[in-house]
């Protein structure tokens, strides 16, 4: 009477067993995938944080370069002008005394005081790697060891040669081959242009302009913003919360011999470092004002969604016109014992300085600043 061994029952048992095994394997696979997914999320978080921090580096470079190297074709003299501490940047060939020290009429922002880089304004940069940067060059072959006459690499130095040869090792030795400078010529430039500007006027224009198209895979990853603080942002009144020291004080004798208060410190910035695809827009209204809705499918919700997945870090930095540390380049003639006064000291030259000043301090902010 038993039906336990009927063919139908056996087929059913086998199905149950196979289904059970498959379910177990599926469960294991799902658990595995979930683990991988959470690991991936965690790794992406680290990558985003790292990208955001790289933006601090980029923003600092931007602040340095725009302080002195210039705006357009104008070389400028610093966020506080090095000539009279006026609120800059002011071109090198323009009078920094024109207007007032807080509203110099020759500042690059004088014509539009509510636009960047005027104090109280912000700029935004979406970072992507250009296909070819402006005036792109490539280095020649490594260490060709072609140096000019009078500079044998096994020779020793004297006052004349060090002027010709530039900066060398920490004791002024010429014996390190790696220290030999490259020597280019007009027919064999080193470095050489990626697009040779000598070919035609069009090529020259391309050389200067570069190719702004973003390289594949580099767009929508990170951005930075720089807000230039007003004097009220760092007058020590604790508003905003990070305004704990008055950075605007000081009084002294200017170049004209007049004793007057220093112009306020205009070299402090709030840097916002972002990793994500919002292109650095702070709000949807900014997107609309810039006419960039298409970058976000014309949907504010999409923009908000992107913002929600971003990592944003805020820092404050202060630019300084100081160009960098002295370096121990060169050496005393011969090998005197320390401080022999009769040996000439001609080696008081600095290491290669920054041509754009330096950053006096950086400070991470733990809360969102009111303006960025």
């Amino acid at each position: 009477m038993s039906t336990a061994c009927s063919p139908a029952a056996r087929r059913g048992a086998l199905l149950i067993i196979v289904t059970g095994l498959a379910t177990l394997l599926l469960a294991l696979s799902l658990a595995f995938l979930a683990t991988m997914r959470s690991d991936g999320d965690r790794t992406r978080e680290i990558v985003r944080d790292t990208q955001a921090r790289i933006m601090l580096n980029a923003a600092i470079s931007y602040v340095l370069e725009t302080s002195r190297i210039g705006w357009g074709d104008s070389e400028t003299q610093g966020w506080n002008d090095i000539r009279n501490h006026a609120v800059g940047p002011i071109p090198l060939n323009r009078n920094p005394e024109a207007g007032s020290l807080t509203q110099p009429s020759n500042a690059v922002w004088a014509a539009s005081p509510s636009s960047w880089p005027a104090p109280g304004t912000a700029m935004r940069t979406a970072m992507a790697v250009w296909t070819r940067p402006p005036v792109a060059v490539r280095a020649g072959s490594r260490n060709p060891i072609r140096i000019g006459p009078g500079l044998p690499i096994q020779d020793d130095v004297d006052e004349t040669r060090i002027l010709l040869a530039g900066l060398h090792g920490d004791v002024g030795s010429y014996r390190s081959v790696s220290e030999v400078w490259r020597a280019g010529s007009y027919d064999r430039p080193d470095p050489e242009a990626v697009v040779d500007p000598r070919i035609s006027a069009a090529a020259a224009a391309q050389f200067v302009a570069g190719d702004q198209r973003p390289r594949a895979g580099t767009a929508g990853r990170s951005w930075f913003r720089v807000y230039r603080e007003t004097a009220a942002d760092h007058n020590g009144d604790r508003d905003p919360y990070y305004d704990v020291i008055n950075l605007n004080g000081g009084r002294g004798i200017d170049a004209n011999g007049a004793d007057r208060p220093y112009p306020p410190n205009a070299s402090v910035f709030v840097v916002t470092c972002g990793a994500g695809a919002t292109l650095g827009f702070r709000r949807w209204t900014e997107v609309v004002a810039a006419g960039a809705q298409q970058s976000f499918l014309n949907q504010q919700t999409y923009f908000d969604q992107l913002r929600g997945t971003e990592i944003i870090l805020w820092y404050r930095i202060e630019w300084s016109p100081q160009a960098g540390d002295y370096g121990p380049m060169g050496r005393r003639k011969a090998y005197p014992r320390p401080n022999h006064s009769y040996f000439p000291i001609w080696n008081q030259i600095s290491a290669m300085p920054s041509q754009a000043g330096s950053i006096l301090w950086t400070q991470r902010l733990d809360r969102e600043p009111p303006a960025w």
Partner: protein, 373 residues
């Protein structure tokens, strides 16, 4: 009903065993994969935790100074050579990186157009510099220099304030680049000792304007490490003009964590770190390497100490040397007791500088300390 034949039974048994074996092998592989994946996942979680802990330390300096508890603020005052607390500016005392400091208004709004910010430190020499006659550059500028404009004294006062309040490492971090490191003390006459910007007598050579000591003894001998750096070598003191120069030939300046935040329970070296540079010239002279455990901030990570989990070690070392001023080096090490593997990752994050960290401690929601004035 037809029963199984023996052959059928044997075949069924063999097939069943094959299926069971295959299933067992599959499950074994799957379980091993899951175990390995889980293990790697835990390692990833630990590494991520270490990464963010290191970044947080780079940004906020918690290991050096606790913003919220006085017990973690050992580096907010001055000490004598034996570690006893003394008033800021006391002779042979050592300021600390988070001590209070008063500076003139001009310092906070640094104005390169003002002649006061221009160097008047000469060539690091005085008339009796290690017994060689050199001339007195202290006449160019010094604390209380008689120049009526005050320009010849300003930089010397500023540097003395930085050094006296913040110690050697704090001074080095705050001093604007590329200032010449060093300052001349004030001197009233040929017999009284020189004095610093706090108007306190400082160990040095009395002798008036023609024999003025270049620096406070502690600054020159301890801070700049004069003996191994200059006297025991053929290197001219003029090379120590700046923050790079002072660090040539294996010399570093470091910060130190507070007690309890060092590596392997080592004694915190914050007093030594504030005294002066550290020399790494093994094997003949090396006071750096043996002290590294007390100079490395080792961050606690109690949230990830479940038994059997990968063990995390996060170290952050803040140093300045010949190539870099203000380097922060983070090292994350993970050792996995299950697999026996050990990984170590080092990187150099950009975080807050000391000046930024001191301002953080003055935020209202961080206690509103008054450190910079």
């Amino acid at each position: 009903m037809r029963a199984f034949t023996l052959v059928e039974l044997l075949v069924a048994l063999v097939l069943g065993m094959v299926v069971a074996l295959a299933a067992f092998a599959s499950f074994r592989i799957a379980a091993k994969s899951m175990s390995a994946a889980g293990n790697l996942s835990r390692e990833n979680r630990v590494i991520a935790q270490g990464y963010f802990a290191a970044m947080s330390e780079a940004d906020f300096w918690y290991a050096e100074d606790d913003p919220f508890a006085a017990s973690g603020q050992a580096q907010r005052r001055s000490y004598d050579g034996a570690g006893g607390p003394v008033a800021v500016g006391t002779d042979r005392s050592h300021g600390q990186p988070f001590a209070e400091m008063d500076q003139s208004d001009e310092f906070w709004n640094f104005n390169l157009a003002d002649q006061r910010t221009w160097s008047r430190q000469g060539e690091y020499k005085c008339t009796h510099f290690f017994s060689w006659s050199t001339g007195s550059y202290a006449q160019v500028g010094c604390i209380d220099h008689p120049d009526p404009s005050g320009a010849c004294a300003w930089m010397h006062v500023v540097q003395d304030r930085l050094y006296s309040c913040l110690g050697w490492n704090g001074y080095l971090d705050y001093v604007p680049s590329p200032w010449t490191l060093g300052f001349y003390l004030g001197c009233r006459n040929d017999t009284d000792p020189p004095y610093n910007s706090f108007n306190l007598a400082t160990t040095g050579t009395p002798g008036g304007a023609w024999a003025m000591t270049a620096f406070p003894d502690e600054f020159w001998m301890s801070g700049m490490n004069a003996y191994p750096h200059f006297q025991a070598s053929y290197h001219a003191p003029e090379k120590a003009l700046g923050r790079s120069g002072i660090h040539i030939y294996g010399i570093s300046t470091l910060f130190s964590p507070r007690p309890g935040w060092t590596e392997s329970g080592a004694n915190a070296e914050y007093l030594r770190a504030s005294v002066g540079t550290l020399v790494d010239r093994a094997p003949t002279y090396n006071d750096l390497v043996p002290r590294l455990p007390g100079l490395s901030a080792s961050l606690p990570h109690a949230s990830l100490t479940c038994p059997g989990w990968p063990e995390l070690s996060v170290k952050v070392l803040r140093s300045s040397d010949l190539l870099v001023t203000g380097r922060t080096k983070a090292t994350i090490a993970v050792s996995n007791p299950t697999t026996g593997s050990r990984h170590s990752i080092s990187f150099l994050p950009i975080g807050s500088t000391l000046r930024g960290a001191r301002q953080q401690r003055q935020w209202p929601h961080w206690g509103g300390a008054s450190l910079d004035r």
